[in-house]
Amino acid sequence: MNSVYSNWSNIFIAHVKRDILTNSRSLIDLISIVGFMILIIILFPLGLGPIKEKLNIVSNAVIWVGLILAIIPSLEKLLQKDFENGWLDQIATSPIPLEIIMLSKGISYWLIMLIPLIITSPIFAILLAMDLKNIPWLVISISAGSLAISLIGLSGSALILGARRGNILLPILIIPLMIPILIFGVGVNEAIKINASPYGNLFLLFAFTLIYLVISPFISALLVRIAIGR
């Protein structure tokens, strides 16, 4: 049995590698995400005025909402490309369960598209005049929250496979699912601001991430099977 699972992990890593390789060849998605995020960070101070206290109040929420909005356009293509070129059909003839492959897709998406945002988030926070003591908590909460967001996005992406104008439908379908992540993610830093313990919110955020980590691969695999069976 042991060899079976080591084989699974090899195939899992191979899928992640392939996804990273394909995405590294066309960086347009990544550039659009980071560019969109920077735009949001620039636009908010312009709208609110340059008063530091005002910015400090909204900074946390702006980064979280910006993150969610910035990745929505790229989610549509997460599975669409592979669906159109027939790779999903090939994946269906893989000896490992489709659920595992879907998990690899969600994780590779997180590695490629969201790690750059996590790394740059302290810069965004400073630009929005966030207190320095909040920044480590922002990075921790965004790291966990963004994994949940990419997994929700994966299911959404699987849902619109083969649908016409799915890109319009997608945000309406998946943003409501991201609300708990947003509430607890923002809550971590809001607790720090009033000198309360952030752990309650943080652990709930972790819990939601784990829930999506478990259910999203199953939902996505089911939806992909329906899409290739049509």
């Binding site: 090899n10 490309k81 893989s94 490992i96």
Partner: protein, 214 residues
């Protein structure tokens, strides 16, 4: 032997097959013929396990193939008009990704041999986005060579020769011949009658449907 028994397959709202019966002999080639829209691709996708069956069973040696789906798809190579190649990767990288996806070992030597079998060794480093349709098809067909290294029992090919020139067609026929020698089973859907020269069975979907009506 592959027994297709009382198959009813629905695609969207349209019933493509109802109570369809057929036998596919192992160790030989079965050519599926039929007009456009007669359901050739649907039948192949159903055998591969992509399109779910509304009713009926597909049995191999008295075992339902979808009962142990992993075992069935593991020894299967499926190829249709969508080649399953990422245009951001090179020909060799695509083959490597496919090999590891199937859980088979992959190295430069294997990839070189596979590409050579379809006359693609010169194009190994070419990106798929730069390939012509014929080259893409050959890059996809290079997977067939892997059957001679790993255990593969079935090829399911949907219009494999559409974009091929005469030289590649000869190479393709060589691969088919070699696979039959090791007792492999090939199911091909094509409207090209001359794709296989000898020793094949035909499954004419138009004829079968006509018989049912009369």
């Amino acid at each position: 032997m592959l027994y297709l028994k009382d198959l009813t397959i629905q695609r969207g709202n349209k019933i493509v097959f109802s109570n369809f019966n057929a036998i596919i002999k192992s160790g030989s080639t079965t050519l599926i013929k039929g007009k456009n829209g007669s359901g050739k691709s649907t039948l192949l996708r159903a055998i591969a396990g992509f399109t779910p069956l509304e009713r009926g069973t597909i049995k191999r040696d008295n075992k339902d193939i979808f009962k142990n789906n992993e075992e069935w798809v593991e020894n299967l190579i499926f190829l249709d008009t969508k080649n399953g190649l990422s245009k951001d990767l090179t020909v060799a990288e695509n083959l490597n990704a496919w090999l590891t996806m199937k859980g088979w070992s992959s190295n430069k030597e294997i990839i070189k041999m596979a590409l050579k079998s379809v006359g693609m060794e010169k194009y190994a480093e070419l990106y798929i986005s730069q390939c012509s349709e014929g080259l893409k098809k050959r890059a996809a067909l290079s997977r067939l060579y892997i059957s001679f290294i790993n255990k593969v029992d079935f090829w399911i090919l949907d219009e494999p020769t559409n974009e091929l020139d005469t030289t590649s067609l000869v190479l393709f026929k060589k691969l088919v011949f070699k696979f039959l020698e090791q007792k492999g089973t090939i199911i091909i859907a094509s409207h090209d009658q001359n794709i296989i020269e000898k020793n094949f069975y035909t499954l004419d979907l138009d004829e079968l449907k006509k018989q049912r009506v009369s």
